[in-house]
């Protein structure tokens, strides 16, 4: 019986692997196998020298870092306060944080675009006009960070909520307070370290979201990594697939790096004990 179960597991795993790996392998082969030339990594070498590759990748990474910082600064105090202060408000916050899942990005970006057009016209005589100009700066479009923060809310909220469920926040805070820690110190020293897993999860999800986001940035006219891949694809099919494969690897590498940075101390801690 157990044997058969194991067999079934392998079959399912094999099918799933096929489903994911075949398209990946096909893409990879397509990028290195040029008809008439045999195997060549030409497509990959061309990427590095391609116009806009580095700048778009850097832009995406900067946006990701900014988004993670803003969304965590916003959500961590919020969910902790929610847990300690007003647990009854939880369903409300949950619904609000889930709204971005319901609103399609296309509708979301249409709304943003309208505001961006309307704003400067009506506010042209006020200092707010400058604000509108600054947040649309091509070199670092703050408006994208704002949009991504909203889009990341559902994932970040869920990750943090799951993390908070696993610990008794109230008791930890009270224990820290009775040990002479002020409120902010109790949060930073007693609660946050125990939320590390949740914080990492939230960061992963946000990073993946920002690196792959296309609709909003494209329609607002910016060129982060995903948009650049799309643009390149229009001109050179092979190279665009090569970039896709590469971006997959880059995302994986970043996630692994984050996991490594986060898990390292934990493992250490456990072996020390």
């Amino acid at each position: 019986m157990a044997r058969r179960l194991t067999l079934w597991r392998w079959v399912v795993l094999g099918l799933a692997a096929l489903y994911f790996l075949v398209p990946l392998a096909a893409s990879a082969i397509f990028t290195v196998d040029v008809p008439g030339q045999g195997l060549t990594f030409d497509a990959y070498t061309r990427i590095l020298s391609a116009d806009g590759f580095l700048s778009s990748l850097l832009l995406s990474l900067e946006l990701a870092v900014a988004t993670i910082a803003v969304v965590l600064l916003l959500m961590v105090p919020a969910v902790v306060a929610l847990r300690l202060g007003s647990p009854r408000l939880r369903p409300v916050v949950e619904v609000v944080c889930s709204l971005p899942l319901v609103v399609p990005p296309i509708a979301f970006v249409a709304g943003i675009a309208t505001v961006l057009k309307w704003g400067p016209e009506h506010l042209s005589r006020t200092p707010l006009f400058e604000t509108f100009v600054v947040i649309q700066n091509d070199r670092f479009p703050v408006v994208l960070v704002l949009a991504y923060v909203v889009m990341a809310l559902p994932f970040v909220y869920r990750a943090l909520d799951a993390g908070l469920r696993a610990i008794d926040v109230r008791t930890l805070v009270e224990a820290a307070r009775s040990c002479g820690a002020s409120w902010p110190k109790a949060l930073v020293r007693a609660v946050l370290p125990n939320l590390r897993g949740a914080l990492l999860n939230a960061s992963f999800l946000t990073l993946a979201l920002v690196l792959g986001e296309f609709t909003v940035s494209h329609l607002l006219g910016y060129t982060p990594f995903a948009v650049w891949i799309y643009n390149v694809g229009g001109e050179q099919a092979q190279m665009s697939v090569a970039v896709s494969v590469l971006s997959l690897l880059v995302t994986w590498a970043l996630l692994l790096a984050l996991a490594g940075a986060g898990g390292g101390r934990n493992r250490n801690a456990n072996t020390r004990g």
Partner: protein, 358 residues
């Protein structure tokens, strides 16, 4: 050696704690309804009561986690009602799982010292000292999840003592532990408390626990203090019927009060308790009830429970009242359910209370 240095440091500071007509409502429920209580310096006081009687709320007010709607909390005569929790100088041990999961035992104990900005070497030394005090010197590098429940509570105790607090607050610290550990740990807490001479408040709903460790026990009911007395007095001379029935086991036997004596079970005994003459209930402890086999007896045994040294028998009197009695195991042999018995009380004053109609 460590204990003696600690002892001096703390004994000098042993504090008086006063609750002055504390009142607190949570919505419609009244948690504290004018609580007045004074804890003497160096005393181990247990706050005992059924759940929802306000004992934990009172403790949390002393810790600074709750604030009274009215009334005041005084430590050494100084009003601390509005002092924030982290400046209260009160060490607290929680029900369970209050250790910081990301820190090992030493760092948990040293947490408070770190908050005070004590240097690393100094605070590690002091933490080691405290771990030795609670008998876990060799577990310093362990993380909470690698420790048993009892060990975790010892660490929590060490952590609470690390800052040499003026009062030690114990919020049902034993209730999550299994019976054996609970017993040894409560003895250990008592020993430590006596060594350190620190004023201690201990919240519990377990009357046996309260009676066995505390200098005085304060019984609370519905946000008020019913009685605060030494365990022996509480048990032997309960001030109210509530205390009598909450602390230990009490049976009610109907009697007739006249001229300060009460007619009960065919005996006439001096009566204690301020009740108007007439029909009353006599409150008796199971160990005070005498039961002997008697063919002519009108009472019948309805149940027996073996408790080790004694057997607790439940006897139904002729009028239907059930009385519990503890008999030495050897006397109880042959007293099976259905046996006809005679019931009597020793010639001593008995506690009477107003008749409760059943």
């Amino acid at each position: 050696m460590t204990a003696t240095t600690l002892e001096k440091a703390v004994a000098e500071k042993a504090a008086t704690v006063e609750f002055r007509s504390l009142r607190r409502e949570f919505g419609a429920t009244v948690a504290l309804d004018g609580l007045d209580l004074t804890v003497r310096p160096g005393e181990f006081l247990a706050l005992l009561g059924p759940s929802g009687c306000g004992k934990t709320t009172a403790l949390r007010m002393l810790a600074g986690f709750e604030h009274p709607d009215s009334g005041a909390v005084l430590v050494d005569g100084e009003d601390v009602t509005h002092v924030p929790a982290h400046r209260r100088d009160a060490g607290m041990v929680f029900q369970s799982y209050s250790l910081f999961p990301h820190l090992n035992a030493v760092d948990n104990v040293a947490f408070g010292l770190r908050m005070r900005g004590v240097r690393t070497a100094e605070r590690r030394a002091r933490a080691a000292e405290l771990l030795e005090l609670v008998g876990l010197a060799d577990k310093g590098e362990r993380y909470p999840h690698q420790l048993s429940g009892g060990q975790q509570q010892r660490i929590a105790l060490a952590r609470a003592l690390a800052l040499r607090p003026r009062v030690l607050l114990l919020d049902e610290p034993l209730s999550a532990l299994d019976a054996k550990v609970r017993l040894t740990l409560r003895e250990e807490i008592r020993r430590l408390q006596q060594e350190l001479g620190i004023t201690t408040l201990f919240v519990t709903h377990d009357q046996e626990e309260a009676l066995s460790v505390a200098d005085r026990v304060a019984v609370m009911r519905a946000g008020r203090l019913e009685q605060c007395a030494e365990p022996a007095e509480l048990y032997g001379r309960p001030a109210t019927a509530f205390v009598a029935e909450f602390v230990g086991t009490m049976s009610r036997i109907p009697g007739e009060l006249k001229d300060g004596t009460v007619e009960v079970l065919g005996q006439r005994l001096p009566a204690d308790g301020e009740v108007p003459a007439g029909p009353v209930d006599v409150l008796v402890r199971p160990e005070a009830v005498q039961v002997r086999p008697d063919e002519q007896g009108t009472a019948r045994i309805v149940a027996t429970a073996f408790l080790g040294a004694v057997v607790r028998v439940t006897v139904r009197l002729a009028d239907g009242t059930e009385v519990k009695a503890d008999l030495p195991a050897h006397e109880a042999t042959g007293l099976g359910a259905g046996t006809a018995v005679g019931v009597s009380l020793p010639e001593r004053p008995v506690l009477v209370a107003e008749r409760i109609q059943k």
